[in-house]
Amino acid sequence: MKVLYFAWLRQKIGVAEEEITPPESVRDVAGLIDFLAARSPGHAAAFANRAVVRCAVNQDFAAPDAPVRAGDEVAFFPPVTGG
């Protein structure tokens, strides 16, 4: 599973992208965040306030209960501020 980070999540975690293999118990976005937050202090900091973290699965916005599977591209980022 490819995981991407943008904006301050990328800065806190220190990488823009990582390839991970979460355990079988990770079935949705919320579960994936639990798993990722435990990987490093940077990850923990990035996911400390989940209310300000948005997610896209395979480039579509995804809610915390959206399923994630091996092979998915999952991205985490703050609320968008373009325009």
């Binding site: 991407l4 943008f6 904006a7 301050w8 896209a56 480039q59 579509d60 916005f61 991205a75 980022f77 703050p78 609320p79 968008v80 501020t81 373009g82 325009g83």
Partner: protein
């Protein structure tokens, strides 16, 4: 007909408007919005703003927003150009434009395009303060309200 572009280079508003209506004499009105870099953020002078985006998803999101505008209004064409990279105050960040036989359609589609882009396209702004340091721009509740006017 739609033109959707993500680029580092500046855009030329006159050239984009000409391209939008080229060969179309059934256009009665063109609405356009250009967003520009301000020189302050919450009263603090800024020297630059960097636009980051999510390549791949950005193009998908912009194409979906444009398709939605075309489904809602009878448009002869529309254009969305969003810049990325480092920009300085006064520079254009985004251009959206919609051409239609009818004025209200062109104006409403223009407002719709920028309102949805602000809340549904994966761009993030980082501001550099003149006094040093920087910050990521926070999303505004006002933008969510503007986007929700269009429901869907």
């Amino acid at each position: 007909m739609a033109r959707v572009v993500v680029q580092e280079a500046p855009f030329d508003v006159g050239a984009e408007l000409a391209a939008l209506t080229a060969g179309r004499a059934d256009v009665g009105g063109i609405g356009l919005f250009v967003g520009t870099v301000r020189d302050t953020a919450q009263g603090r002078p800024i020297t630059a703003m960097t636009l980051e985006h999510y390549p791949g998803m950005t193009e998908r999101a912009l194409a979906a927003i444009v398709a939605e505008a075309q489904a809602r209004w009878p448009l002869a064409g529309c254009t969305v150009i969003h810049r990325v990279g480092r920009l300085t105050p006064g520079e254009g960040i985004v251009l959206v434009a919609a051409a239609s036989a009818h004025r209200q359609a062109a104006l409403e589609a223009t407002a719709f395009l920028i309102d949805w882009l602000k809340t549904k396209a994966p761009f993030w702004k980082h501001e550099e303060f003149a006094e040093g340091g920087g910050q990521w721009v926070e999303a505004r509740a006002e933008d969510d309200r503007a986007a929700s006017r269009w429901a869907g």
